[in-house]
């Protein structure tokens, strides 16, 4: 059954998520983003997993704000005199993004939730620091989890 997304521009994002929670089934993605932070060379590889209800919103379209909105809020928060957001309206008033494919949603999530210095020009560094893979490609256990690194030969 096709569910039409209401016109949500101007509606508080949190309220849109209420609608989505009520109308949409969560989508468990098989994609995983494995990344290493060059600023933390001794840390193990990190693994970012999309939230199923967030993924449902991304695939539905018309709910999530453009990723650039989150960048603007991060800029505001990085100011030394930051106390509280005064441009939260960007989340609610900016035209929502259209529906995405699962692959596009993962790219959006990388740019939203992973530090920019990790994903920007990630494919130009000598050492692979970010890989999108299927969860089947990851160990099914947690043994030596704090020693996991991206296999440079496979990546």
């Amino acid at each position: 059954m096709i569910i039409e997304t209401p016109e949500f521009q101007g509606t508080h994002l949190w309220e849109r998520l209420h609608w989505a929670k009520d109308k949409l089934e969560g989508v468990q993605s098989d994609y995983r983003v494995v990344w290493e932070d060059p600023e933390e060379p001794d840390s193990p590889a990190k693994i970012t997993v999309p939230d199923p209800n967030w993924m449902a919103c991304a695939l539905q379209g018309g709910i999530l704000p453009p990723v650039e909105v989150y960048w603007e809020l991060k800029k505001d928060e990085a100011q030394p005199d930051f106390k509280k957001h005064t441009r939260g309206y960007l989340l609610h008033n900016t035209k929502p993004v259209d529906k995405m494919t699962e692959e596009e949603a993962i790219e959006y999530l990388i740019m939203k939730d992973i530090p920019e210095h990790v994903w920007k020009d990630y494919d130009k560094s000598n050492r692979k620091r970010l890989v999108i893979c299927n969860k089947r490609n990851l160990p099914g256990h947690r043994t030596w989890r704090n020693a996991w690194k991206i296999n440079q030969e496979v990546a």
Partner: protein, 137 residues
């Protein structure tokens, strides 16, 4: 018994503020009392999996018992309250959100094998729940 069937409750004086009469002379503010984020995940094997959630974007598994949780609707400031409960058959953990970095769009938590944060080793738990109360952006 009466049934109230409505779509929206909003304040008359301030749209985003509704008081609910509590015990005695107490008033409870509806908006301030709401949980603004929650999720429940399993980190016992492979990469962590979220069972269900609200207002969540992603989780990043940083290592054993160490996770960064991203929010979809940012909080207005970093003074929000975070509660985490994690447990695995006989082991349990209670973690406060200020153990690591807290931002308006994400927070990082560490789960241990005892409630003693200073001495305990980190632990991957079968059930991990996080909740946030505070002001939305």
């Amino acid at each position: 018994m009466s049934t109230l069937a409505i779509d929206t409750i909003q304040g008359k004086t301030t749209v985003g503020s509704v008081n609910v009469r509590g015990e005695g002379s107490n008033n409870t503010n509806l908006q301030q009392g709401l949980v603004k984020f929650w999720h429940r995940m399993n980190a016992s094997s492979g990469s962590a999996v979220v069972g269900d959630s609200f207002n969540a974007g992603s989780i990043t598994d940083n290592g054993v018992g160490n996770f960064t949780v991203a929010i979809t609707t940012n909080m207005a400031n970093t003074n929000y309250a975070h509660f985490c409960e994690a447990r695995t058959d006989g082991l349990y953990s209670l973690v406060l959100g200020n153990a690591y970095a807290t931002n308006t769009g994400s927070f990082q938590v560490r789960n241990n094998d005892t409630p003693n944060l200073s001495s305990a080793d980190t632990q991957d738990h079968t059930f991990i729940s996080d909740m946030i109360g505070g002001d939305l952006a």
